[in-house]
Every structure is written in structure tokens, then in C-alpha cells.
């Protein structure tokens, strides 16, 4: 748990035409921690993630990565920094096996020939490093995997490239109880291995089970970013639905349609 965050965003603004989706958003992700990003539908979670991963350019604001100011203009920039996103719909090819999926688009080659042994070895090491023991063979097609196993492959794919920040978009949304536990365990292990993990989730149980910090978005504003131990379940729900909870969140009018007053600088609460 380092003092300075691995990734820090300050004053991010983002509009699509006349609609301002993100308003002066600050956000931090620490190495070795799971930061849960919560918020209702339309609060701007996905947009924020897409800004971080370089899919959307931001209108204003600064990115600080590892203490250095950076600009992220494309997914390639993000990947070069070691930022990987695991999307909700997984983006795996059913007709390819686990190794082939993990290296898709970044195959190891010797000459023009695919270097299968090296790829298989690296995949096995990555999965072993994550203590994944649930797949029978690295050469089975992804189609034959359960939802949890598929999510595991997608996450392993993201950490294969010495990534430093992994963003998971609702990794447990489609999973059963046992598989959810499996994936959450993996998420925790990523952070314990020293990565910064951002977990987007609607499920408060998941959030409280694995996260170290919770960042709540409400109508495009970051209303709170606090340690998970300092907040209760119901307070988070209030932050998500009303943008405020007691001393946390927006001050003034509930709904916070005006600009948030300066003293509610996100992340500065407590």
C-alpha cells in the first residue's frame, strides 16, 4: 500500500456534445489495492474507464501515472503504460483455446512461425502465478469453459503483459455464487501480487468483500473516495442513489445539479 497512487486523475471533464458526462472527476488507484468504482447506471463509470483506457479522449484534466504526468490518447498508450481493461463481454474467441486467446493479437513468434511452446509456458506460468487451478488443460477451447473460468482467462490475459493497472468491468455480473467467489478471490490475488485493481460492480457484497477503497460516482461527479473500512453498506447505497450520505458526498442540494462546492473535493473526505 504505497502512499502515492499508481494512477491519479484530477479534474477530468468529458462531454458528448451538449451532455456533460464527467464533471471535475478525481480518482486514484493504488498499487496493491482494489479500488471499487461504484455508481448507478449512467453515473459515468464506463465513460471514466474508457477515458483511462484511451478509448475516449478527455476534454480537460490531468493523468498522473507512477508520479509522472502522462497523456493517454489511444488504447495503445494505455497498454504501453501497463493499463489493461477486462470488459464485461469478455472478448474471447470461443473457437480458440486458452493459450491462443491469451496471446490473441500479440502472438509470440520465431521467424514467421508461431512459437507455441513459449506461449503455452508463459500462459501456464501466468495462471500458476494467479494460483488458478480450475482449468484442466490450457489447450481446451474457451467454449468448453464455465463462466467463471472464462472470466479467469480474460483476467489472466490482462495480467500476462506485466500490466500494472487492471480494470475489471463487472466481472461477476453473469456468474453464480461459487464462481463469483472464485473470481473475487482472483481479483484479491491480483492486488496482493502488487497490481492496482479497479473493480466496477453493482454488487455491494462483492465490493465489500474485496475492495480496499470505494469510489462513488453520482451523475458524473466523484462524490466520495474512501477506505472500505470507513464506510457502511447503506452509506454507499446512499452515495450511489442520492450522491450524499451524512458528512460524505455532495453538500447543498441533493442531486447536486450545480457545480460541487470546492470543499467536497473527492477523495479528500476524511
Amino acid at each position: 500500500m504505497s502512499a502515492t497512487p499508481l494512477l491519479e486523475l484530477r479534474g477530468i471533464d468529458k462531454s458528448f456534445g451538449p451532455v456533460q458526462v464527467l464533471r471535475d472527476v478525481a480518482f486514484a488507484a493504488h498499487a496493491g489495492e482494489v479500488t471499487a468504482l461504484v455508481g448507478d447506471n449512467g453515473a459515468g463509470k464506463s465513460t471514466l474507464v474508457k477515458c483511462i483506457s484511451g478509448i475516449h479522449p478527455t476534454d480537460a484534466g490531468e493523468f498522473v501515472f507512477d508520479g509522472r504526468p502522462v497523456t493517454i490518447n489511444s488504447p495503445r498508450d494505455a497498454a504501453a503504460l501497463g493499463i489493461e481493461v477486462v470488459y464485461q463481454d469478455l472478448a474471447l474467441c470461443d473457437n480458440l483455446d486458452i493459450v491462443q486467446n491469451m496471446f490473441l493479437g500479440r502472438e509470440k513468434r520465431s521467424g514467421i512461425v508461431l512459437d507455441e511452446p513459449t506461449m503455452e509456458q508463459m500462459a501456464a506460468e501466468t495462471l500458476a502465478g494467479l494460483s488458478v487451478r480450475t482449468v484442466k488443460s490450457l489447450r481446451q477451447h474457451v467454449a468448453s469453459l464455465s463462466g467463471g473460468q472464462r472470466q479467469t482467462v480474460a483476467i489472466a490475459k490482462a495480467v500476462l503483459w506485466n500490466s500494472r493497472l487492471v480494470i475489471l468491468d463487472e466481472p461477476t455480473a453473469a456468474l453464480g455464487v461459487a464462481q463469483t467467489a472464485q473470481v473475487l478471490e482472483l481479483v484479491r490475488r491480483l492486488a496482493d501480487n502488487g497490481l492496482a485493481v479497479v473493480l466496477i460492480s453493482h454488487n455491494m457484497n462483492d465490493v465489500f468483500a474485496v475492495s480496499d477503497r470505494i469510489a462513488a460516482l453520482y451523475l458524473g461527479q466523484m462524490v466520495a473516495q474512501v477506505k472500505t473500512t470507513d464506510i457502511t453498506h447503506s452509506q454507499v447505497v446512499e452515495l450511489i442513489t442520492a450522491g450524499r450520505s451524512g458528512s460524505l458526498g455532495l453538500t447543498g442540494e441533493p442531486g447536486g445539479n450545480g457545480a460541487a462546492p470546492a470543499d467536497t473535493t473527492p477523495g479528500a473526505v476524511r
Partner: protein, 419 residues
């Protein structure tokens, strides 16, 4: 299928060392799970061969076997190209007449303009590349469904062939080299040497891979399975070369007729080259990826449009080669070259061989196996004295049966979770 197996030790993915038994078990489980691959084609091929041999003993002769290869060659070559398009879940209905256009170009260049054979072959293949590029651009960049683009091509190319043929006349192809492709044979010694080289090459690749994987501590197929594969290839090639090297001339005093038809090694080389491209290069991997999940491929940084255009280029170029072989076999090109049943036989060959119409699944070998089935049906029913009408109906039914197997196995696979 999705059982979660907890291992006590060892890295992920390490299962007990496979044995011959587990290998056979795995294969059987995959088949039952709906991943049947080329099994129907092989079964059908054996059944048809046995059936026709009993009904017409003349089917099972060296002469007829050689005929089978030359009869099926053009369709098989076109089907090999179609596999690439089918892998993306697309279709190329214009491949038949594209081969006709390329054959017409070939005939015009070599006979009418009098250029040497290699110029003619080159211009035919270049024509194929151009056709494929246009089709691919229309599908990938403009976004027209490939079915419509290539249906338009089917009609238009038919007209192009007619125009190139001067409204119906046919052009003879008499160049020695071109005629030799489908009408001459390798000397018996050369046939044996090529077979030996093929088996040795296959053995070297298999054994090297086995040793390489074993040296890195990765799972390997049991050496017995590897040896069985090599032996299997050696037996198949050995028997084929032996039979084709038998004298099959009706009157040996007039002319000796024996040896492997030249078109066979041509198909074999293209089979090896395209299989290498699909299985061992990242380009081939990307074709499967785009066919399996185009969005995933796009997110992985694969240029999906470029892959899409390239498969149409490969398909039309292979159609050009098919057209050259057809022109060679007929010693001429007429307005119906590549027409009538050629396209459907080619699509049928690919699908019967186990290439999925839904994309993402298929091998170039499928086209060869399926092409053999189509050729055997065509040839055998001809020997039995059935009319073209009956042959068309039977081939149509077989194609439908293959597509049904494809669709059902897909459903079966979805139910059992193997696909």
C-alpha cells in the same frame, strides 16, 4: 465438461501424462460432444468406395483412381480457397465463374496472344487476385453482405467469360506444359521419391515438435500416437503411389500410362502451404479469431477488414488455379468453364469435409477430403450409368446432409458446452 478439477500440486493446466488410451478417449469425447470434424467425410468416403466397388468393379481400378484425382482436382482447389472465406462465416458464390474468367484469360493469353505458359498462368492468378480484392473491398469496406456481392459476381463473371470467349466459341489450350498439369503423370520413381520426401518431412516436423515440447516440460502426445500418425500417412501415400504406378493403359504396346498424375503433388503442395499458413502463422490464427468473434479480434488489435479482404483474395486466387487445372484437363476453355455444378460442388466439398458454414471452424484438409467425396459420387454414379440429373440431385442431397450435420453438431456442441 466444465468440471472444476482442483490440483494438489503443479502449475495450472498440468494433467496426468496423456496415454494412447486417454488420447482415444479424448477424441471420442470430442466427437460425442459435437466436434466431429472430418469424420463424416471419411466415413462417407469409405462407404461410397466400398459401395461403388461392389456395384461396379470397374470403379476399383487404378485407371479409375487416377481419373478420380483429375476429375476432382479443379473443384478441390476451389474448395480449398473457399475454406478461408467460410472460416469467416462468409461465402463466395462467384468462385466458380471466377475460375472460369481466369481460365478464359489463360486461354486468351496463351492461345490467342501466343505468350508462353508462365505468362498465361501468372495473368490468370493475377486476375484472381484482382477479383478477390474487389469482392473483399465491397464486403469489408462498403459493408455489403458477401452473399449479395458474390451473387452479383456470379452473374457478372458469367458474362465476362462469355465476352472473353467471343460469344460462345471455345478456345483450345495446346501448350504442352499446361496440358500436362491434368493429363500427364510423374514417372514412377519421381512419385515414390515425392512420397518419401513427404513422409520424411512430416515425420521430422512431428518428432521435432514432440522433442521441443518434451524438452520444455510441456504436455506431449504419447510417442505411440505420433508414430501412428506418421505410419498412417506413410501407408496412405504408399498405397496411393503404388496403385497409381500400376500400368493402366488398355494397350501397353501403343502407350504406357502409369504414375501419379501431376495435379496430385500440386494439390498436396498447396495443402501443405495453406495448412501451414492457417495453423502455424499469426495471420492464420487471426483468421480463426475473426471467424470466432470479430469483436474480440478487433479489441485484440487485429485489423479485421484486412483479414476479411485477404480471404477473398486467397479464395479467388485458388479459384484461378482451379480454373487453370480445369482448362488443362479439358484442353480448352469454353463459356461454361467454372459454371454449372462447379461452385456448388466446391462449397459442398468444403462443407462435407467438415468446414462450418457458421465460421471459425475448418481446415484446408477438409476441402480435400470433401472434394474426394464429391468426386467419388460424381464418378461412381457416372459408372453406374445414372444421368446428370440424378447426379445433381444426389450431390445436392449430400451437401444438404453435410450442412445438416454441421448445424446439428453445432447445436449438440452448444448443449454439451464444447463449442
Amino acid at each position: 465438461m466444465t468440471a472444476i478439477v482442483v490440483k494438489k500440486e503443479g502449475p495450472a493446466g498440468v494433467t496426468p501424462t496423456p496415454t494412447v488410451g486417454s488420447h482415444v478417449n479424448n477424441y471420442w469425447r470430442r466427437v460425442r460432444g459435437g466436434d466431429i470434424g472430418a469424420l463424416p467425410a471419411v466415413v462417407m468416403l469409405v462407404a461410397l468406395a466400398v459401395g461403388f466397388s461392389i456395384a461396379r468393379p470397374s470403379f476399383f481400378t487404378a485407371g479409375n483412381l487416377a481419373n478420380l484425382f483429375t476429375q476432382g482436382a479443379a473443384v478441390t482447389l476451389i474448395a480449398m480457397g473457399l475454406v478461408f472465406v467460410l472460416l469467416l462465416g462468409e461465402i463466395d458464390l462467384s468462385a466458380g465463374f471466377a475460375s472460369g474468367v481466369c481460365a478464359a484469360i489463360l486461354a486468351n493469353v496463351v492461345t490467342v496472344l501466343g505468350y508462353p505458359w508462365y505468362v498465361a498462368v501468372l495473368s490468370a492468378v493475377v486476375t484472381g487476385v484482382v477479383i478477390g480484392t474487389v469482392l473483399g473491398l465491397l464486403v469489408a469496406k462498403v459493408g455489403i453482405p458477401s452473399f449479395v456481392v458474390t451473387l452479383a459476381g456470379f452473374l457478372a463473371f458469367q458474362g465476362v467469360v462469355l465476352t472473353l470467349m467471343d460469344e460462345g466459341a471455345n478456345i483450345a489450350v495446346r501448350d504442352d506444359v499446361l496440358v500436362a498439369i491434368a493429363n500427364r503423370n510423374l514417372s514412377p520413381v519421381l512419385g515414390w521419391s515425392l512420397a518419401a520426401v513427404a513422409v520424411a518431412g512430416y515425420a521430422a516436423v512431428q518428432l521435432l515438435r514432440h522433442r521441443n515440447r518434451a524438452a520444455r516440460g510441456l504436455l506431449t502426445d504419447p510417442i505411440a500416437v505420433v508414430a501412428a500418425r506418421i505410419a498412417g500417412l506413410a501407408v496412405i501415400l504408399g498405397v496411393a503411389v503404388y496403385v497409381l504406378n500400376l500400368e493402366r493403359s488398355r494397350n501397353v504396346l501403343v502407350v504406357s500410362l502409369k504414375g501419379v498424375p501431376i495435379v496430385v503433388p500440386i494439390i498436396a503442395i498447396l495443402l501443405v502451404v495453406w495448412t501451414f499458413v492457417l495453423q502455424r502463422t499469426s495471420y492464420g490464427r487471426h483468421i480463426y479469431a475473426v471467424g470466432g468473434n470479430a469483436e474480440a479480434a478487433r479489441r485484440a488489435g487485429i485489423n479485421v477488414d484486412r483479414i476479411r479482404i485477404s480471404v477473398f483474395i486467397i479464395c479467388s486466387s485458388m479459384a484461378a488455379i482451379g480454373g487453370i487445372v480445369a482448362a488443362s484437363r479439358a484442353n480448352s476453355v469454353d463459356p461454361n468453364t467454372g459454371g454449372s455444378n462447379v461452385l456448388l460442388y466446391a462449397v459442398g466439398a468444403a462443407v462435407i469435409g467438415g468446414t462450418s458454414l457458421f465460421g471459425g471452424k475448418g481446415r484446408v484438409l477438409d476441402a480435400v477430403l470433401g472434394g474426394a467425396v464429391v468426386a467419388v459420387i460424381d464418378n461412381g454414379m457416372g459408372l453406374m450409368g445414372y444421368s446428370s440429373g440424378v447426379k445433381f440431385v444426389v450431390t445436392g442431397v449430400v451437401l444438404l446432409a453435410a450442412a445438416t450435420i454441421d448445424a446439428l453438431s453445432r447445436r449438440r456442441a452448444a448443449a454439451t458446452g464444447t463449442r
